[in-house]
Symmetry: C2
Subunit: 412 residues, 2 copies
């Protein structure tokens, strides 16, 4: 772990990227960073705060998600990377380059340059720590939260190890896909020698609203998704279900959360041949309005006891019944997933498309794992989906300001 | 080939999707299509016209590109598919579903439903025919334009057959990625039994402007790309370089064009470690302004004879020198490519990202092939890129109105 002085050193090194900006020189990167114009109204999401942005933040339209494996054996180098990333994120989320794009002609540009002129596009950058980070490499074993246990194998899992796990994760969300990708790319670049990309996922078309100001979007099944999601305007639900509080066994995680990522492939071609009534029975909602079956409007309350001719209106195996808080001891998740498509499955010629599910919670064992265990056993939707990737991360709290970094209280 | 009566039959069948809309029933798809509200201003690009939309159309932000292989041996069935696609495209490009989303409960919805509420988002759908369509399966061998010859192997090619070729292509461009993907998905669905997806590519961040009203975007190398592209407002250049005219040996293609698609992977990590001066030497432009080296502004004329201290300002192997019309007997292409990223190359752990190059022209032999042959031999950029996919398509002219279809004059 870095001592006080080495901690200062790496922060200086990290901020050197911004420092280079201030020392001048010719070039648009420099000009931008020393004289930043006003950001387009509403385009900047604040980076610092009690919680990391990108969780209870109105969901942006695009996602670039990356999981990294740490390759160094040095806790100091790992901490230095987290400090460098924090300094870079503070710049990027303001719509500025990591550092000067044009530097000395004989040096590589510090920023890769492809987002020059695109603005911040509501970029948020959220970092998490996987269970493997707490093995014996970095002396962190005693700092591992009890709830940061690998997600157990669940019925029906068809997980690809190459799309699962990771020591670190970076979730970049923005309203411009190039801005989101730029973060992933530059974070991978800054990590050179310390960590390498393990897997990544692009997403489009947010599949949940996380603000009451947003319409409920449709997923690739054509249904509204996330109607009853936790919203940024619901502090009580956020405190109860999302933010880690005093109950944690690890003080460094207080104010943070846990992120579950699941790559859920939809068997698009099978779904598209299913009758409308079957699709609605499986999900438990009307495809057009999004209303629970038997109700008229999307936000009409879900009545799991309603019957028609002696049969439940919401099927016993319907997805919304099994996922409902009422069926799960009141437990809820903050969902923040995206649709994805990764071309064609070479083995079958079918589309590899679906939902990249991201969910935040303060206790993955009693929330995601418990809910998913029930779904995996009984959900009618299982006929049309496959879970092909899985990862869990502890997401530390927000950074207080310049000089703070992800994991300061973990490594300190 | 379909006779007059079978042609009418398949058009009726195709329009049956729209027909179902008109016959009523409950459901939001129906309501939308029978009483379409006004489209958001500027969101609809006209589908019918002398040329297909999606070529000299202001480039949208997102791409879903699909190549199909025809699986039927019946020319009638193939023609029926093209008619069905045309009827569907006329609806989709207005922001309407393929047909009713909600139909009878015991039938699958005609449209998959995920773009309900998203509008047209400037959707264009452009269809082309690959060289293989003119083999002996459909009696079209004598209708193959001489210029529709497979692109010859070029120096340095590292093509993946699974990302190359195809009997048919569909280029869907839109300002919303879900709208673009929806077209690919529903076209694949309508093709069931007649054609199957061969490969597909998603793209984001247009890498060329095709209108004088658009700024020049930056590609993933961080440089402005497409500064001297042919623009929609340049009818003389379009006639000279893009639209097939009376010179063609195949009248059915008059008013059409040829599309070359090349998946060009960038060796991102190598590029990012190259010094700024090296990056600028390779491309021949300043990274910041986009100006030719030695000039001040992006649109300053390119002077290939300029020297400094006896050395050419634009390197002899610089990309812009070798690609310039002046070096290529005045030949130009209309470029319409997109950035892509497809995650991580499992064999190396490096990003699989780059440029999905799309270019329209009226003579691929003297345009793309001749220019690329020179680039492949001498371009300094070759150190940082790999061509990993390749395809050529003849793109028929635009459709005149309802009842017209892609290839009517080819099959007729």
């Amino acid at each position: 772990m870095p001592s006080g002085s080495s901690r200062r050193t790496f922060l200086t090194a990290a901020l050197g990227t911004a420092g280079a900006v201030a020392t001048g020189g010719a070039g648009f990167g420099v000009a931008r960073a020393t004289e930043p114009g006003p950001a387009p109204a509403g385009a900047v999401v604040g980076f610092y705060g009690a919680h990391q942005a990108g969780i209870a933040t109105s969901a942006q339209e695009h996602l670039a998600f990356a999981a990294f494996d740490v390759t160094t054996g040095s806790a100091d180098e790992l901490a230095r990377l987290l400090g460098t990333w924090a300094a870079a994120a503070a710049q990027l989320t303001k719509g500025r380059p990591v550092g000067a794009v044009e530097t000395a002609p004989d040096a590589p540009p510090i920023d890769t340059g492809e987002v020059e002129g695109l603005g911040a596009a509501q970029l948020t950058i959220t970092v998490g720590f996987g269970p493997t980070l707490f093995d014996d490499r970095f002396g962190l074993a005693s700092r591992r939260p009890a709830a940061l246990a690998e997600i157990p194998a669940l019925p029906g899992d068809t997980l690809d190890p190459a799309r699962s796990g990771g020591d670190l994760c970076v979730q970049a969300c923005a309203d411009d896909p190039q801005v989101a990708f730029h973060t992933m790319r530059n974070f991978a670049r800054l990590a050179r020698g310390t960590a390498v990309l393990r897997w990544s996922q692009l997403g489009f078309g947010r599949t949940a609203s996380t603000s009451t100001a947003q319409d409920t979007p449709r997923n690739l099944m054509g249904f509204k998704d996330g109607t009853n999601n936790i919203k940024a305007e619901e502090p009580h639900d956020l405190a109860r279900h999302v933010w880690v509080g005093d109950e944690t066994d690890q003080a460094w995680l207080r104010g943070g959360s846990y992120l579950v990522a699941r790559r859920i492939r939809m068997l698009i071609e099978s779904w598209d041949t299913a009758a409308l009534a079957e699709q609605e029975r499986v999900l438990g909602r009307a495809k057009g309005t999004g209303a629970p079956l038997g109700e008229r409007r999307e936000f009409d309350p879900l009545d799991l006891t309603a019957t028609k001719a002696g049969m439940p209106l919401i099927d016993r195996t319907a997805h919304i019944r099994l996922a409902a808080p009422a069926t799960n001891a009141g437990r809820k998740l903050l969902r923040r997933g995206y649709s994805y498509t990764d071309g064609i499955d070479a083995s079958t010629g079918l589309l590899d498309a679906g939902l990249f599910f991201l969910a935040y919670q303060n206790d993955p064992v009693s929330q995601f794992v418990a809910i998913q265990r029930r779904l995996a056993r009984h959900d009618a939707l299982n006929e049309y989906i496959r879970h092909t990737g899985s990862a869990l991360f502890a997401v530390p709290p927000g950074l207080s300001g310049p000089g703070d970094w992800w994991g300061r209280d973990l490594f300190g």
